[in-house]
C-alpha cells in the first residue's frame, strides 16, 4: 500500500499548493456576486459555474479548501497538544491524579459536542470579521476535540511510566521535567503523530457539519461546509453535476489523510 500512501501525499501536496496559490489561480473574488449569472453552468469564465448568488464556484472551492485544509491541521495540532499535556500528565502521574483527570475527560467526552459548539458560538461577539470567525470556529474545534486523544495518550504514558527504561532513568537520578521531556515525550511521539492525522479529517467533517447547519464560517468566506450546503436538497442539485465537485474533492482529501497513516500508526 506504499503507492497509495505516496499518491495520497502527492495529492494532498497538490491540493494544498493550489489552495495556497488561490490568490493567483482564482479567476474571481470568492465573494463577488455576478448577479446576472446566478446558477450558471461551467464556462470559460466560470470553470465550475456559479453558485446561487452568482459567485464563481471554482474560486470558492479554492478558497474554501484553503480554509478547511489549513485550519483543520491547526485545530488538530492544538487538540493533540492539549491531549498530550492532559493525557501525558495523567498517565505519567498515575494514582488519584490519573483517576481524577480521566473522570474529567470522560465527562468531557459525554458532552454533546454539536450543541456545545452551537452554544459557544451563540455567545461570541457578533461583530467579528469572517476571517476571525474562521479562526474562532477552528480554535473551538481544537479546544473541544482533545478528550478522545487524551485517553489514548494517557494509556500509553501509563505504560511507558512503568517501563524498564523509565525505571532505569529514575534510578539514574532523572526526575520531574527532565524525565518527561527527555524520556517520555519522545516515546509518545508516534501516538501523538497518529492522533494528529486522525483528528484532521474529523475536524474537517465537524466544520462541514457546522457549515451545513449554517453555523460554521461566516459569509461570504467559503469553507467546505458552506460549499457542501449546496447539495443539501438532492432533487434540486441533481441536474447540475458540477455542483458535486466540492464533495468529490472533500472525499478525496479526507480519504488521503487516512491513507497518509501507515498501518502501524492506525489505531487498533
Amino acid at each position: 500500500m506504499k503507492w497509495a500512501r505516496t499518491t495520497a501525499i502527492v495529492f494532498l501536496l497538490a491540493v494544498s499548493s493550489a489552495c495556497l496559490l488561490a490568490n493567483v489561480i482564482a479567476p474571481a473574488s470568492y465573494a463577488y456576486q455576478f448577479r446576472e449569472e446566478p446558477n450558471a453552468a461551467p464556462s470559460r469564465h466560470h470553470l465550475l459555474g456559479t453558485d446561487d448568488l452568482g459567485r464563481d464556484r471554482f474560486s470558492r472551492v479554492l478558497y474554501g479548501t484553503r480554509v478547511s485544509l489549513l485550519l483543520a491541521p491547526a485545530a488538530a495540532l492544538l487538540s493533540s497538544l492539549l491531549a498530550a499535556f492532559i493525557g501525558g500528565i495523567a498517565g505519567f502521574s498515575g494514582g488519584w491524579v490519573e483517576r481524577f483527570v480521566m473522570a474529567g475527560t470522560d465527562l468531557f467526552l459525554s458532552l454533546p459536542w454539536l450543541f456545545l459548539l452551537i452554544t459557544v458560538r451563540a455567545l461570541l461577539p457578533l461583530n467579528v470579521s469572517p476571517i476571525l470567525s474562521v479562526l474562532i470556529t477552528f480554535a473551538m474545534l481544537g479546544c473541544l476535540g482533545w478528550a478522545g486523544a487524551a485517553r489514548i495518550i494517557c494509556a500509553d504514558a501509563r505504560s511507558l511510566a512503568q517501563s524498564d527504561f523509565i525505571l532505569l532513568a529514575r534510578a539514574s537520578g532523572s526526575n520531574g521535567f527532565r524525565l518527561l521531556w527527555r524520556h517520555l515525550v519522545p516515546n509518545l511521539k508516534p501516538v501523538l503523530y497518529a492522533q494528529f492525522w486522525i483528528s484532521v479529517p474529523v475536524f474537517i467533517l465537524t466544520e462541514a457539519n457546522l457549515g451545513i447547519l449554517g453555523l460554521g464560517v461566516a459569509e461570504p468566506m467559503p469553507s467546505w461546509g458552506s460549499l457542501l450546503r449546496e447539495l443539501e436538497s438532492f432533487s434540486t442539485a441533481s441536474g447540475q453535476s458540477w455542483q458535486v465537485v466540492p464533495l468529490i474533492l472533500f472525499i478525496l482529501v479526507v480519504s488521503s489523510f487516512h491513507l497518509v497513516l501507515t498501518k502501524e500508526e492506525l489505531p487498533v
Binding site: 448568488l53 457578533l126 461583530n127 453555523l215 461566516a218 461570504p220 436538497s233 434540486t236 441536474g239
Partner: protein, 543 residues
C-alpha cells in the same frame, strides 16, 4: 334539420358528460403534512398540521373566501354586528347534523364560545377575541339564533369567526364530531391520517349533489421535502401546498401544467435595527439606528429587485410595507417599494454627517460604519438575502457582518438581552385585518421588535402610529379604518422601522388529476375549496 338537432343534442350530452367527469365523486386525495398534528381540538390548533385538520374537518359560522377575500355564510346564514361592535348575532342554518349524527343547534355555538374563552384552555384562537378584561356572554335566542356579546368592541369581529370551528356540546365523540366536509377516520401516529367524507355535511353543489366530491383524504406525515417532491413526480401524492422557489422551478421544468404561482403572498421578509435605548450597544451605534436618514439610506442601498430575482428566482416581489399587495382591501396602493438608489442613500447619509473615507463610510465622529445582522441559521433564503445585502451595503461603504444563530439564541437576543444590531427575519401573516398587527405596531407591545414594551412612545411618529392603530380598532366603519391604517402604512414607509425586503410568492404544485383546484395566496393555498375538489374518473376508480 333533424340531423342538426341530433348533433346539437349529442354535443349537449358530451358537454354535460364532461362536466360530470369534472365533478367525479369518490377517490382518495393524497398529500403530505410536514409534521404530525399536535392536537385535534380545533380551539387549540396552532401548528400548520393541526390547522390543516381544523380547516378540513371544522365547520365554521362564516368563512373568508380565499379567492375573493370576502366573508361568506357557512353554518350561519346571516349575521349582524350591533352595540358598537360589541355584539354579533348569528342566524344559524336549520336541520344540520355533526358527523356522528348529533343535531347542531345554537347550544353548540354557546358551548364552543364558552370553551374558546375559557382562560384555562389557553386557546390561541380565543386570543384574537380577548380585546379587554371582562366576560363574554352568549345567549341562545329563539328561531335558531345566537347572540354573542364581548366586553369591548372588536374591529373586524365577524372575520375572526373564520377560525372558530364549532364543537358539539352533546356528542360523546367530543371534538371528533365535526361539521366540516371531512372527519378524522383513522390516525396512525407519526405515519398517516385518513379523513373520511362527512355524510352529514350540509353543503351541496349547484346541481344538488352532496359535497365533498372526494371520498377520503390521506395525509402522510413527511418532513423531508425532497421525498415529498419525488412522491409528487411519481404521482403518489396530488399536490404540494407550499413550495420553495427551487422546487417550484423543478416542477416547472418537469411539467409546467402542475406549477401554480399565485403571486405575492401575505408573508414578508424584513430587516430592522435595534433601537432599544437600554441595549448594550455603543452610543454612537444607537445614534445611527435611531436616525431615519440612516435607516432610509440602508433601505435605498438594498437592491430588492435582485433579492427577488436571485434569492427567490423571480418568485417574489419587492415589498412595500407592512401589508402585501395580496391583501386587496388593506394594502395602501399609493405606496411603492423603495427603489435601489445608492446615490440617494449617500446623500441622506451626508445629511447626518456621514462621509466616505477611502471607500469606507464614517460617521461625523470618525467611527467606521460597521454593524452585524443576525438571522436564523439553516434558513438559506435569509442567509442568501443577508449575503446580498452585505455586497449592496459595501457599495455605500458600510461593512456588514452576517451572523447566523440558532433560533433560541436569536430570540434571546431580540427579546431579552437586546444584544444585537440588526436582525433579518420574516413575518408569516395569515390575517387580512390590521388588528392582527396590533402587537407589532403599538409601542407598548412586546412584538414591537425594534423597541418593544415602551412605557411611552419614544418618538413622535410611534405616538402617531399608536393613535392611528387604536383609532382604527375602535371604529366599525371600514372606510375610516382603511384611512387610518393607510396612514400607518405611510408612516412605516417613511420611517422604516422595518426595512421590508420582499413578499414571497405563494407557490404550489397540483397534479392534473385534481379538478377545480385554483391555488390562491391565502392559506390553505391549494385546498381552500376542499369540498369542491374532485379527482379524474380514472384516479377516482383506482384509489
Amino acid at each position: 334539420m333533424k340531423k342538426i338537432l341530433a348533433v346539437l343534442v349529442l354535443l349537449t350530452l358530451i358537454t354535460f358528460g364532461s362536466n360530470r367527469v369534472l365533478a367525479q365523486s369518490g377517490g382518495e386525495l393524497h398529500f403530505c403534512l410536514r409534521s404530525e398534528p399536535k392536537t385535534f381540538n380545533p380551539l387549540l390548533a396552532a401548528d400548520d398540521a393541526s390547522e390543516t385538520i381544523r380547516y378540513m374537518t371544522g365547520g365554521v359560522l362564516v368563512r373568508v373566501n380565499r379567492l375573493t377575500q370576502d366573508l361568506e355564510p357557512e353554518l350561519a346564514t346571516s349575521w349582524k354586528i350591533t352595540n358598537g361592535g360589541k355584539t354579533i348575532t348569528f342566524q344559524l342554518r336549520d336541520g344540520l347534523r355533526f358527523s356522528d349524527g348529533t343535531a347542531f343547534s345554537a347550544d353548540d355555538v354557546a358551548f364552543t364560545m364558552q370553551q374558546l374563552m375559557d382562560p384555562a384552555l389557553h386557546s390561541p384562537t380565543g386570543d384574537a377575541f380577548r380585546s379587554s378584561e371582562g366576560k363574554v356572554e352568549t345567549e341562545v335566542l329563539p328561531k335558531n339564533r345566537v347572540r354573542i356579546t364581548f366586553p369591548a368592541p372588536i374591529a373586524g369581529l365577524d372575520r375572526l369567526f373564520d377560525q372558530v370551528a364549532i364543537m358539539s356540546a352533546k356528542s360523546p365523540q367530543k371534538e371528533m364530531a365535526v361539521l366540516g366536509p371531512y372527519y378524522v377516520g383513522e390516525n396512525k401516529a407519526g405515519s398517516y391520517l385518513i379523513l373520511k367524507r362527512n355524510p352529514n355535511y350540509w353543503e351541496k353543489d349547484p346541481a344538488g349533489r352532496p359535497l365533498p366530491y372526494i371520498e377520503s383524504v390521506r395525509l402522510d406525515i413527511q418532513s423531508n421535502r425532497d421525498i415529498e417532491m419525488l412522491r409528487l413526480t411519481r404521482g403518489e401524492i396530488h399536490f404540494i401546498n407550499s413550495l420553495d422557489a427551487e422546487y417550484f422551478d423543478k416542477v416547472v421544468a418537469q411539467d409546467p401544467s402542475m406549477a401554480h404561482d399565485a403571486g405575492a403572498s401575505l408573508d414578508s421578509e424584513e430587516m430592522w435595527f435595534n433601537q432599544v435605548a437600554t441595549s448594550p450597544l455603543p452610543s454612537y451605534k444607537k445614534a445611527w439606528f435611531i436616525s431615519t436618514n440612516f435607516r432610509r439610506a440602508v433601505s435605498e442601498a438594498i437592491n430588492r429587485e435582485d433579492l427577488a430575482r436571485i434569492v427567490f428566482r423571480g418568485h417574489a416581489r419587492p415589498a412595500v410595507g407592512p401589508v402585501s399587495p395580496a391583501n386587496k382591501f388593506w394594502f395602501n396602493a399609493k405606496l411603492q417599494a423603495h427603489p435601489f438608489d445608492q446615490k440617494s442613500a449617500l446623500q441622506r447619509l451626508t445629511q447626518d454627517g456621514f462621509h466616505l473615507q477611502d471607500g469606507a463610510l464614517h460617521d461625523r465622529d470618525g467611527h467606521a460604519v460597521e454593524f452585524s445582522v443576525i438571522t436564523n441559521a439553516g434558513n438559506k433564503y435569509r442567509e442568501r438575502m443577508a449575503t446580498m445585502i452585505q455586497q449592496d451595503l459595501s457599495g455605500i461603504g458600510i461593512k456588514l457582518n452576517v451572523v447566523t444563530l440558532d433560533f433560541p439564541s436569536l430570540i434571546e437576543r431580540i427579546t431579552h438581552t437586546f444584544d444585537y444590531e440588526a436582525c433579518l427575519l420574516g413575518l408569516v401573516n395569515d390575517e387580512l385585518d390590521p388588528n392582527a398587527q396590533m402587537t407589532v405596531w403599538l409601542s407598548s407591545a412586546d412584538s414591537h421588535q425594534w423597541n418593544p414594551s415602551q412605557k411611552t412612545p419614544a418618538t413622535a411618529w410611534e405616538a402617531e402610529i399608536d393613535k392611528l392603530m387604536r383609532a382604527q380598532a375602535s371604529t366599525l366603519d371600514p372606510k375610516k379604518r382603511k384611512e387610518d391604517f393607510d396612514k400607518v402604512q405611510e408612516i412605516a414607509w417613511q420611517q422604516e422601522p422595518f426595512i421590508y425586503l420582499v413578499n414571497k410568492n405563494a407557490l404550489s404544485a397540483v397534479s392534473p388529476a385534481v379538478h377545480n383546484a385554483h391555488p390562491v395566496v391565502l392559506r390553505p393555498q391549494v385546498y381552500w375549496n376542499i369540498d369542491q375538489l374532485s379527482l379524474t374518473s380514472e384516479v377516482a376508480r383506482n384509489r
